[in-house]
């Protein structure tokens, strides 16, 4: 019993026991999730707020959000019950849960902080962290921590009372000497630290010389084993990078080890250079030394490039060219000595050659005779001599030299190459391309020579130098000796022709700094040569003689003469010789637009000519490369013709040339340049223009029409055959002059307004009737019928908008408006086509008859249209009708110009009959103005 009772009393039970399982009881079904409800202590459903389940209950009995809602305490006036109502405390606003153990204001007894274990209070720390974030300086709780009161737990206090000092171990004091604390204990914090050996065990006996007998020491403080669980996937001994060490490159020994020369070979490689320099950088030892390993640095060591040899060499026996499979003689060669004997620097990878290179045997050029001149001159006389049978060239030469002028002759003989090329150039007939040349120069030199010889033989040639007695044999050198006197210039026939040649080549050539200077070595000679050239340029015939230095000897002069002539021919300006061969490039590279327009113009002219001659084909066809988009090819099931080219469109064409806008502006400028037109005041932008004169974009018919219009307006003539509206114009003009002349002065001003005003139809479209929208055809029919019936009444309202001057013209207005009304509908329809560039669409107006119930009217309208066609007015003129109507309104005020108006209108009509006239509104206005100005002049 007692044992039973004891056993019962011994147990303390916590929580609610599970209900004892009864046998044979069927297993309970698990409660489905939606029935798992949470109830509070009083059995009420607990509602959780917030995204997750952790929210507090809210509201009166957790009623926030429910249908009862918030139920505040009933208001009681505190006027009478001031004393009874205490001030509310914070607790009044707290819920029960707040007073529970884990609430914000626990009401139960808990362990005070003093007695709590040293385990950190996570909640408090968290709260502090939050507070720190919200503090003035984020994260600044340092000050608080500094001045926090020293608070030690009761256990520490007790220990202190017992004589314990911080830093000492706990336990009975020991007799042995205080063990020297290891410096690094605690310095290295690994995840697994080997527990330090107990002080007793690791006690060394060898150094207790200073330990007195009666002194006891506190046991060594034992660092508790830190059983921090490993988190993370790193291996054993992993240590994160220490940024201080890694970045600064100083500090712990491990890092130093990293960069230490690892092996002997490496230390040899880098030598002393390496030791001093230690890099920083994040090349740390991410995987550290394991707990049990002492200094195994390479377990997780990052492989570094410095472990590898980057330079061939070192241990290799040779120079690294062959590696260890080097040929025998290569490795065993003893050529070091020769290398050493070589004084220069041996390039890396090169060795001295085994065998010395063969010396090239250089044959010295034959020594030239002292008076040798490297110029060979082709003497026409020589062939004549040598061509004789039996006379060898050597003999001829000998013959010639025997004349005794060898010394002088030699310098004049040019080297064969120069001379030949010079003569070749002459032979090529470049002179023939020049202007003033004679037939002589077209001949080959031989022929010319022969001819000259013939002439010289017969008479003294007046053209060739008369003063020189040229031997008929053509041995011109002899003449130089024979010649004398200041105007000696015994220029032989050949040199004379050469002189002419030079003259022809140099005449009119602009001096430039780039002319070749053949006598640069001799400045005075060069100066004379340039003087000669400049005279040649001026076309001076005896430039040669004038430019020569008179102070020189005759021999020198003749020699120089020869040289100058030859040089001037040799180095004749390329512009003269080459320019005739090449045409100037047609286009400049840089400016596209100008070039294009010019090119276009020419092209178009050519093509138009071809079109006129009906020569379609090559003349009118251009084919160019065009790059379709890749996707487009794909969609068309066609292989990309230019695979790989990123280009799309035309490759060579600059885009801006081909925009329609450029085209427009061109036309516009052309029109603006037309003489009879006054400048348009309201031409602001391109789009304005296009609105005003959409017809101007029409192209060819327009330009033709314009030209005809100009001619016709410039010669205003009384033209017959007015149209029906024209008739009324005449009548009206007859009626009006008296009233109009009174207002004559005002009209001038108002004309200006009139011009800038939009056409009447616009106003009509806005004000007159809402049903005049062009989309509904039937209505427009009806409306047109109305206007034909009582046009004056209908039109008078918008008319008054403009008739500022008087109402005297109302009757006239009505008369003109009937005329206008007849063309009103088509005019309005044309409005929507005004902003067009290309060919217009036919007006839908004629369709009006097709609507139901208007059969009769449609018939009438068609008849009318037909009639108008008979009068050679096709539908395009409807626009013109509108135009006329517009003008009529102006005319009521412009009395003086009436006649001219009508005449110009007749002109218009005439034009229309002519065919393709399509005149826009302001075109007519312009014409009107021009006629007016013409008259007033």
């Amino acid at each position: 019993m007692a044992s039973d009772g004891d056993s019962e009393e011994d147990f303390v039970s916590y929580g609610t026991p599970l209900e004892p399982l009864e046998e044979d009881e069927p297993l309970k079904k698990p409660i489905p999730l939606h029935e798992q409800t949470v109830k509070d202590e009083k059995g009420r459903y607990k509602r959780f707020h917030g995204a997750f389940t952790g929210g507090f209950s809210a509201g009166y009995f957790n009623t926030v959000g429910s249908k009862e809602g918030w139920a505040p305490s009933t208001f009681v006036s505190s006027r009478q019950q001031k004393a009874e109502k205490p001030r509310s405390r914070p607790e009044d606003f707290m819920d029960e849960e707040d007073f529970s153990e884990h609430g914000i204001a626990p009401a139960q007894i808990t362990t005070s902080q003093e007695f709590s274990s040293s385990r950190r209070d996570e909640a408090a720390e968290k709260a502090r962290a939050v507070g720190a974030q919200a503090a003035l300086i984020p994260g600044d709780t340092l000050l608080e921590e500094f001045i926090a009161p020293a608070r030690s737990s009761v256990g520490v206090e007790l220990l202190r009372q017992m004589g314990w000092r911080e830093g000492q171990g706990v336990g009975p004091r020991v007799k042995r000497r205080a063990r020297r604390q290891r410096a690094e204990s605690g310095a290295r914090v690994h995840s697994c630290v080997m527990p330090p050996a107990g002080s007793e065990d690791s006690e060394d006996d060898d150094d207790e010389e200073f330990a007195p007998e009666n002194v006891t020491f506190a046991p060594k403080d034992v660092t508790p084993v830190d059983f921090t669980p490993r988190s993370g996937l790193q291996g054993l001994g992993y240590r994160g990078l220490n940024p201080g060490l890694a970045l600064l490159g100083r500090g712990a020994a491990e890092h130093i080890d990293l960069f230490k020369p690892q092996s002997e070979s490496r230390s040899q490689l880098f030598g002393e250079r390496r030791s001093g320099s230690r890099r920083g950088g994040v090349a740390g030892q991410a995987f550290g030394v394991g707990a049990l390993e002492d200094d195994d640095e390479d377990v997780y060591h990052r492989d570094s490039m410095s472990k590898y040899d980057t330079v061939l060499g070192g241990e290799e026996p040779g120079d690294g060219l062959y590696g260890w499979t080097a040929p025998q003689q290569y490795t065993q060669r003893t050529g070091r000595s020769r290398d050493a004997s070589y004084l220069g620097k041996i390039l890396e990878g090169f060795t001295l050659a085994q065998n010395p290179a063969k010396e090239k045997t250089v044959f010295p050029p034959p020594s030239l005779p002292r008076d040798y001149r490297p110029i060979h001159r082709f003497h026409p006389s020589a062939p004549s001599l040598s061509s004789l049978p039996g006379v060898s060239p050597a003999l001829a030469e000998a013959l010639r030299t025997s004349r005794g002028h060898m010394v002088k002759e030699e310098p004049q003989q040019g080297g064969r190459h120069q001379l030949d090329s010079g003569q070749r150039r002459a032979l090529l007939g470049e002179d023939s391309l020049q202007g003033p040349t004679s037939v002589m120069e077209l001949l080959r030199p031989e022929d010319r020579e022969r001819l000259l010889n013939l002439r010289n033989a017969s008479t003294k040639t007046p053209t060739s130098d008369s003063h020189s007695a040229v031997p008929a044999a053509g041995l011109r050198a002899g003449s130089t000796v024979a010649a004398s006197a200041p105007p000696p210039s015994p220029s032989p026939s050949s040199s004379g022709s050469q002189q002419q040649e030079a003259l022809a080549a140099w005449r009119g050539v602009q001096p430039s700094s780039q002319t070749f200077k053949p006598f640069e070595k001799n400045p005075s000679k060069q100066a004379r040569y340039e003087l000669y050239l400049s005279r040649l340029r001026q076309g001076d015939r005896d430039a040669l003689e004038q430019s020569l230095d008179l102070g020189m000897t005759e021999w020198e002069r003749s020699r120089e003469r020869e040289e100058f002539v030859r040089a001037s021919i040799l180095y004749r300006p390329s512009s003269s010789s080459l320019s005739s061969r090449f045409t100037r490039s047609k286009h400049l590279e840089d400016d596209d637009t100008v070039e294009v327009s010019q090119e276009e113009k020419g092209d178009v002219d050519d093509k138009e000519a071809a079109v006129r001659m009906k020569l379609f084909g090559k003349l009118t066809r251009e084919t160019m490369e065009w790059h379709p988009d890749k996707l487009l090819c794909k969609r068309f099931n066609v292989p990309d013709p230019f695979p790989g080219s990123g280009l799309v469109g035309l490759p060579k064409v600059k885009r801006d040339k081909f925009s329609v806008f450029n085209f427009l502006t061109v036309t516009e400028s052309r029109e603006a340049a037309a003489p009879p037109k006054p400048p348009e005041p309201g031409k602001k932008s391109r789009w304005d223009v296009s609105e005003q004169k959409e017809e101007g974009r029409k192209g060819d018919p327009l330009s033709e029409m314009l030209s005809t219009a100009r001619t016709q307006t410039s010669a205003p003539a009384a033209l017959p055959a007015p149209t029906s509206s024209g008739d009324q114009t005449e009548v009206k003009s007859a009626e009006q002059p008296s009233s109009e002349k009174k207002e004559g002065d005002e009209e001038e001003e108002q004309e200006e307004e009139e011009d800038s005003r939009p056409p009447m139809d616009l106003f009509k479209a806005i004000f007159a009737s809402s049903e005049s929208s062009s989309s509904s055809e039937g209505e427009s029919d009806k409306e047109e019928e109305d206007t034909t019936k009582d046009g004056g009444k209908m039109e008078s309202q918008p008319q008054n908008l403009f008739n500022i001057t008087s109402s005297t013209t109302s009757s006239i207005a009505s008369s003109s408006q009937t005329a206008a009304a007849s063309s009103q509908a088509p005019a309005r329809e044309n409005e929507q086509e005004r902003a067009e560039f290309g060919p217009k669409l036919p007006p839908p107006a004629a369709y009006r008859g097709a609507s139901i119930g208007e059969e009769k009217h449609s018939k009438r309208s068609r008849e009318r249209k037909h009639k108008s066609k008979k009068q050679h007015k096709h539908k395009k003129e409807k626009k013109k009708k509108k135009q006329k109507k517009h003008k009529h309104k102006g005319k009521q005020k412009k009395s003086k110009k009436e006649a001219s108006d009508s005449s110009s209108e007749d002109t218009d009509v005439d034009e229309d009959e002519g065919g393709d006239g399509q005149v826009s509104t302001d075109e007519l206005l312009k014409r009107l103005k021009s006629v007016r100005s013409h008259q007033s002049c």
Binding site: E625, S659, E777, G838, P842
Partner: protein, 317 residues
């Protein structure tokens, strides 16, 4: 039986008026057969596009969604799609059955004059008054054109597609042929503003009508002129021209209310079909049969080679 009798020459020209369809959609800007010629599309100036049965002349569907008058339309080979273009600068791809706008493509800077599907209806090509041809993808959901052909210097008035070639007629007086397979652009200069271009059925020739009242047949490969057809009047309006179904005749609208029909080879005028008093704006030849559609003002007329049976005429009138 010595020789079989020569077959009587089949009347090859549609000269009998079969039906007049009053489209009730303002002026008919363009009339087009569909791919097989059983239906016709009429583009009205009241912003609507209508689909009609040619044989019965009944209205099948009205497609409304354009903001301004419809200028051209084309139907895909499988009759499932219609594309149309309008003065409101848009190109619309329609679903034929539902009449809904599948895609509305904006990008042109001006009104769009002409539109055409390619053979597989994967690309729509639209030519506009802004001088560009834009190639729209019907497969993807992109709203930008695949490529913009901006070589033209003026308004594109007409565009045709044949296999891998693209023919555009431009107001700058040039007919451009883009050869996708060769990657070449051939430009033929015809001085006068082009109003309409066509490929011949065999794809060897191009037909172009211009505002100098001339229709020219050019050899496609060389650009030489094979024929010139005059007599009609085309001076101000953008009117259509076409070839007959067997390339035997050239047809063109005229401003004098007739359709002119020339023999292709001889160049002689074989038929002057009086359509009405006004301008014949558009015409379309049946792809296989001798049947012609003309559009004048608000009416579309169907012409055939032989007079129609009476009962159908009764229906039509």
């Amino acid at each position: 039986m010595a020789f079989p009798l020569p077959r009587p020459q089949a009347p090859q020209l549609p000269q009998h008026l079969i039906r007049t369809i009053d489209c009730q959609q303002g002026a008919v800007r363009a009339v087009r057969f569909n791919a097989d010629g059983n239906y016709l599309l009429s583009c009205g100036s009241d912003k609507s596009l209508k689909l009609w049965s040619v044989s019965r002349g009944t209205l099948l569907k009205t497609y409304s969604g354009h903001g301004y008058e419809v200028l051209d339309a084309d139907s895909s080979y499988d009759n499932s799609l219609i594309c149309s273009c309008s003065s409101d600068k848009t190109v619309i791809l329609w679903d034929v059955a539902t009449g809904q706008v599948t895609r509305k493509l904006r990008g042109h800077a001006g009104k769009v004059n002409c539109v055409q599907f390619n053979e597989e209806a994967t690309v729509m090509l639209s030519g506009s008054i802004d001088g560009t041809v834009r190639c729209w993808d019907t497969r993807s959901r992109r709203y930008e054109p695949i490529q913009v052909l901006d070589e033209a210097r003026d308004s594109i008035s007409s565009i045709k597609v044949a296999q891998h070639e693209l023919l555009t007629g431009c107001v700058d007086g040039r007919v451009r042929r883009y050869d996708l397979r060769m990657g070449q652009l051939h430009v033929d200069f015809i001085s006068s503003p082009i109003t309409c271009v066509c490929f011949s059925q065999d794809g060897q020739c191009t037909l172009s009508s211009s505002l100098d009242s001339t229709v020219r047949l050019l050899d496609k490969s060389t650009g030489e002129m094979l024929g010139e057809y005059t007599g009609h009047k085309m001076k101000g309006y953008k009117l259509d021209c076409c070839l007959s179904n067997k390339d035997t005749h050239v047809l063109s609208c005229s401003e004098d209310g007739h359709v002119y029909c020339w023999d292709l080879v001889e160049g002689s005028l074989t038929l002057k079909l009086p359509v009405g008093k006004a301008v014949v704006q558009s015409l379309s030849f049946h792809p296989t049969e001798t049947r012609l559609l003309t559009a004048m003002e608000g009416r579309v007329q169907v012409w055939e080679a032989e007079p129609e049976v009476i009962e159908e005429e009764g229906m039509a009138t």
